[in-house]
Amino acid sequence: MSDTDVPAGEVAVEEPALIHGFPSSLSHGQLVVHVDAGHYLELVTALRDDGYAFCADLTVVDYLLAIDRPMPTGVTPERFEVVVNLLSMDEGTRVRVRAQVPESDPTVPTLFGLYPGTEAMEREAYDMFGVVFEGHPDLTRILMPDDWEGHPLRKDYAVGRIPVQFKDAPGPR
């Protein structure tokens, strides 16, 4: 993502339409709204009141290696992005919220109060990325063991290897 050109699938990057005052774009025909961590809860609340009553998915992306990715004007790219996929069951439409979360303070408010179904998703996001969801009732690791060090899906976390025995490695006996 070192290229400053706008990628083929993304339109409306130059002149974004505002949704609840926040810049939006279309990614392959899918509506995306960009927001910073401070206004994240405000935007999602507004979208829920618009009829997006179902939270389909919540996840995080670590953009450590692609920090200079193209963004609509007015959005400062940060290392982490909390990505929330909301669904309006009456309209059959989806909207995606991409919230920029800085590395220095990876904290966003929890959506548990709006969508209780995000409970497990936020725990997974915390477990895998170390993004803290403030106000979550039980923010513990969910997939990794409790005493695990680090957050595995971060880009600076190596894939790791299980030591295997080869001829140059000393055997167990």
Partner: protein
């Protein structure tokens, strides 16, 4: 060696009442919409001395793999429940970042191992959306055929295990027998019974084998007879009804609040099926009914899956009638390797083949979320591409993972014996939960 210390999950575990915060306890009591404890709750007066916390799983036969539930019991009544997961976590999303888009399906197919073709389908659809690739009609119809057959085999597996969990052991044998007939067709088509790597970005791996129409027709002819037998064996049977009706009830409001999808959501009466409501492939051209329940109980979830098999057979028959001739994969030189015969005569074709299978093909920058209706609910795939040959981030929205959140709600106030029926009716596949 202190086994307790070695297997302890610390803060992930269900704690004593006195150590649990009100908000945390509310989740464990399944108070999805009720919020924190109110004074009219049945167990508000109960203290730690009167209750017992026990483990159900991870090695319990009715927990479908390695699901571990910690239950707080008052006698035989379940008061609180907390699913503890992660025993099957192998970092498949991290692995996905290391595999090319061509290798990707081999990874995602192992997540929901009861419906691998649906996993491959959603991955392929997401990659194709990023590539803006148009598929030939036949490739898409083959995908629909395989996805529906996979739905049948997955629901048959559910019927088998659901029957076994409730003591109808013969159902287990019948269910596996019928599932095997579908898997035999998969083996003939894809080479494998499970984890097919058949649906790939750009189409499918191979055309349908000779005589496929007869094979599929035989499945479509045999199954309805067997399904009627299951109706006789289970649906109308008083013991079965006693065990399932009114057990593990969830309302529509609650199901939407906890983001439950699939048969759990439909059992509350909401006809939400992505094949109908947000159609993909050619589902909008086919006729089928979205099966819904009324009471949101274990029986409804059983009946929905049983009848969805019938609907899928209807769909498969329509697909058979409309299967067009043509190519089974897109002839896009960027994505599709050259035909085998060309490799023998053309050096460039050989290089091209080699390049695609070693380096992979590049996918334009962008991010996309695609969702399909898997047998368990909304199966989503979120891919971020940085323009290289490997996904920058691959996230699978696994329906079982999200659906597990209904368990504390469904189990509360029920008996331990009913817990077995309820877990089974949620139909979690742990490979997908833990990824």
């Amino acid at each position: 060696m202190d086994l307790t210390a070695e297997t302890d999950e610390h803060s992930q575990e269900l704690k004593r009442r006195s150590e649990t915060s009100p908000a945390e306890g509310a989740i464990e009591r399944g108070a999805v919409l009720r919020g924190v404890a109110t004074s009219d709750d049945v167990d508000v007066e109960i203290t730690d001395d009167e209750t017992m916390i026990i483990n159900m799983g991870p090695q319990h036969p009715s927990t479908h793999g390695v699901l571990r539930l910690m239950l707080e019991l008052d006698g035989e009544t379940v008061l609180r429940c907390k699913p503890i997961i992660g025993y099957l976590h192998t970092g498949m999303e991290k692995t996905g970042e290391d595999l090319t888009y061509l290798q990707g399906p081999t990874n995602v197919t192992r997540m929901d191992y009861a419906s691998p073709l649906n996993n491959e389908l959603v991955f392929a659809l997401a990659v194709e959306k990023l590539l803006e690739l148009e598929l030939p009609a036949r490739a898409q119809w083959i995908r629909m055929l395989m996805a529906e057959l996979n739905r049948i085999s997955s629901h048959l597996l559910f019927l088998a295990t659901n029957g076994m969990d409730l003591g109808a052991i013969s159902m287990m044998i019948y269910g596996f027998r019928d599932r095997e007939s579908v898997l035999a067709f998969f083996e003939k088509t894809t080479g494998l019974r499970m984890n097919h790597n058949y649906i790939r970005p750009g189409g499918v791996a191979a055309d349908l084998p000779d005589g496929w129409r007869d094979d599929v027709l035989r499945i479509c002819d045999d199954l309805p007879v067997h399904l009627d037998e299951y109706d006789q064996l289970l649906t109308g049977q008083p013991i079965w009804r006693e065990r399932t009706q009114g057990i593990g009830v969830i309302t529509q409001e609650q199901a939407i609040a906890v983001s439950a999808t699939g048969p759990i959501l439909r059992s509350t009466g909401l006809p939400w099926d992505l094949r109908r409501t947000i159609p993909y492939l050619f589902y909008d051209q086919l006729e089928f009914d979205v099966v819904v329940g009324t009471y949101g109980d274990t029986f409804d979830r059983y009946a929905i899956r049983l009848n969805e098999v019938r609907e899928s057979i209807k769909l498969v028959r329509q697909i058979l009638d409309r299967m067009p001739a043509g190519d089974y994969r897109a002839q896009d030189k960027k994505v599709t390797p050259p035909p085998r015969a060309r490799i023998d005569e053309s050096m460039e074709a050989l290089i091209h083949h080699f390049k695609i299978f070693t380096e992979g093909y590049k996918v334009p920058e962008g991010e996309v979320y695609v969702a399909i209706e898997s047998p368990r609910g909304e199966l989503g795939c979120y891919i971020v591409s940085d323009g290289s040959a490997r996904p920058y981030r691959l996230h699978i929205r696994a329906p079982s993972f999200v659906n597990l959140q209904v368990l504390p709600h469904l189990l509360r106030g029920g008996l331990v014996a009913d817990a077995v029926a309820v877990i089974s009716s949620v139909d979690p596949i742990m490979g997908e939960v833990d990824r």
